[in-house]
């Protein structure tokens, strides 16, 4: 199946003017969230949702929130020198879905990359070391391929949580070169 070129996709922040009734992914929970909860959640500053359009069609969405990872140390010797924190700042890709008519055209991958790139930009302004995601089970392999780690304790949840440490990756990014591109 042919992918849609990235330059033909637009990402727009959700607001009340958009018609969401046409959107149907294969996951009813995600459809329900977009149509009934996303705007309310955004209005009270819990989350931000972004819509992805191809021409005039709403083809996907994703939702971002701030998050934390808390580490419960088993023994005091489990601590790491230089890291006195037990909680670490994250941004969470809380919801991602693609309309079923547009599945298999690279839109999910585009949205994930857009989110990762956006989190990188946020991390240049606000401290943020990890990206977390509530992964659809069918997407776990995709996330693992990109370095996300599955939390084994919660692996049986409907949307198992995963995380990615951006720090070692960002060490290898030439910020000046990217900022000037």
């Amino acid at each position: 199946m042919r992918s849609i070129l990235h330059e033909r996709l637009r990402v727009l922040p959700l607001n009340e003017k958009y018609d969401l009734t046409t959107f149907f992914s294969t996951n009813n929970e995600l459809n329900d969230f977009l149509k009934n909860d996303a705007l309310n959640s955004q209005d009270v500053l819990i989350s931000r949702t972004y819509l992805c359009y191809y021409e005039e069609a709403l083809v996907g969405f994703l939702t971002l929130v701030t998050d934390t990872i808390e580490v419960k140390l088993v023994e005091t010797s489990d601590g790491v020198d230089g890291y006195q924190y037990s909680k670490y700042p994250c941004i969470k890709i809380a919801r991602v879905a693609v309309d079923k008519e547009y599945a298999g055209k690279g839109i999910g991958r585009f949205l994930l990359l857009w989110a990762v790139g956006t989190v990188y930009r946020v991390s240049r302004v606000v401290g943020c070391r990890y990206i977390t995601v509530d992964a659809k089970k069918e997407s776990i392999q995709f996330y693992q391929k990109n370095g996300f780690k599955l939390i084994k304790k919660y692996a049986e949840r409907n949307f198992p949580p995963m995380y990615l440490n951006m720090y070692p990756i960002i060490l290898n990014i030439d910020h000046k070169k990217i900022d000037n591109q």
């Binding site: 922040p13 489990d78 890291y83 956006t118 780690k149 304790k153 990756i169």
Partner: protein, 50 residues
Amino acid sequence: MAHPIELGLVLEGEDAREFLEDLRNPKATKEQIEMFKEAIKIAKEHPVEF
């Protein structure tokens, strides 16, 4: 109402140990670095407009 977004990820036991090992010895693969470069490019080409 859809299941609410769960905030705050708590790691214990083996998950905590794996996390701490990653803190001690963080590693990035060539694929991850390339993925990030592509992601940054996409985000830059599709900035959020309010």
